[in-house]
């Protein structure tokens, strides 16, 4: 997965063409660390059709808040730079895969 920070977020997500997934997480968030390896696995499966990225919010808090992310974990889906969908709360790996399939059609 591509690691994002405040310097590359705009270029890799908001100015990117096609589908981009962003896994918002933090090293202090246990549920996030549960989910992350599953998202990485999905990245191997769907990586050709969607760019998989992760953002550690402790390194880019303002970027996350700018994206209206104020709690973890959040998995957000962007298309041509626009946020199209978002998963929050108790996110299961199945829910992420379902959403990917729904969005990719």
């Amino acid at each position: 997965m591509l690691s994002l920070d405040r310097n590359n977020f705009d270029a890799e997500v908001l100015e990117a063409q096609g589908w981009v997934l962003v896994d918002y997480w933090s090293p202090k968030c246990e549920p996030c660390k549960e989910l992350k390896p599953h998202v990485e696995q999905l990245g191997e499966k769907y990586g050709d059709d969607m760019k998989f990225c992760e953002l550690d919010i402790t390194k880019a808090r303002r970027v996350a808040i700018g994206q209206k992310v104020m709690g973890l974990p959040v998995v957000a889906f962007y298309h041509n730079g626009e946020k199209k969908a978002e998963l929050t709360g108790d996110i299961t790996p199945e829910a992420v895969e379902e959403k990917i399939n729904e969005l990719l059609g």
């Binding site: 549920p31 989910l35 104020m70 709690g71 974990p73 709360g89």
Partner: protein
Amino acid sequence: MSKVYDVAIIGGGPGGLTAALYASRGKLDTVVIEKGQVGGQAATTEEIENWPGTEHTTGPQLTDNMKKHAEKFGTEFVRDDVQGLDANGFVKTIKGRNSEYKAKSVIIATGAEPRILGIPGEREFRGRGVSYCATCDADFFEELDVVVLGNGDAAIEEAMFLAKFAETVTIIVIHEEGKVDATPVVADKAFKHEKLRWVWNSTISEIGGDGIVEWVDIKNINTNEVNRMDTNGVFVFVGTVPRTKVFADVINVDDYGYAIVDPQTMESNVDGVFVVGDCRQKYLRQVVTAAGDGATAAVLAEKYIHEEEGFIEDVVDVETPVIVAFWSPASEASMAAMPKIEAAVKELGEAVKLVKIDMYRNKRISTRFEIVEVPTVTVFNKGEVVEKMVGETITTEALVNKVKELN
């Protein structure tokens, strides 16, 4: 056939990790199945100052040490999300999302998760300012304003933790002024805390904003008056719900989902299945009580395996008929019956085996064969009960005749 563990522990919080330590130190082949990171709810708690012998530690640090401690004695850890349990028979099957696991005993240590309040905006703004985990989300609220709903130990402690980050922390308490459910030592500290603000007799009736949380409606429960207050975050700590859903059709749970176990032994209603920690009915849910449960369950699991394996070896997997005498050294009647049984065994010689079971020390096997009084003698043939004699009906002659009939 896949491997059969002695003990499979579902859940890697303090209860599960302590069970793992005791079981593996007792030379049992032990696995912990955890769906994510080990540590459970404790791992989401920043400050721990009531673990005996350690004045201050953090949840992740303490639980990581517990994991290493269990590993040192040989506990295996696997990552899987358990979906079901088949507990029929001595070897039980745990169905995970990735794999199946077989074990002679199962310790359920799945813990609990935060309760959701169910008010308008709560679901919509999750991840956008509504949170159930201060350690996860505190970073977002540096120099911002947050409210905390709840007044138990978790709510008050997390409010003090949030005060390290946030500009203001307002605690909304449903009770009258000065009354909280938190223990006095926690409450006193909070009342002296300069950064905490208090709203009494109140709850939150709605959460709103434009994309992210901007306000909450605070309702006074005495006057029904509603006041809108600007805030950036809402932390909800109004209790927990047990994670027992996938086991609810196997073990007994109460109306709230808490497992009902024997509080002395952690045994559920299913032989060889134990439940420990926050997911069982109990008075005090703390790291230290979960750990105590785990130790108890591991020792009882070992006893269970020992007794069951002994029974299979001595009674079930035996070629000749077996006389099983249920007795008690405290019962005169059973003491009187013993010489008659011994005489029958002597007369039959190689044709029979004798096993004595103290009914009060091995209640599980006694119950399974519906033994209600001592002395009771059952005759097993090829693993099946073919005769049962109770009290006065036990005679040397009757036993000899029965066994001879079988040979």
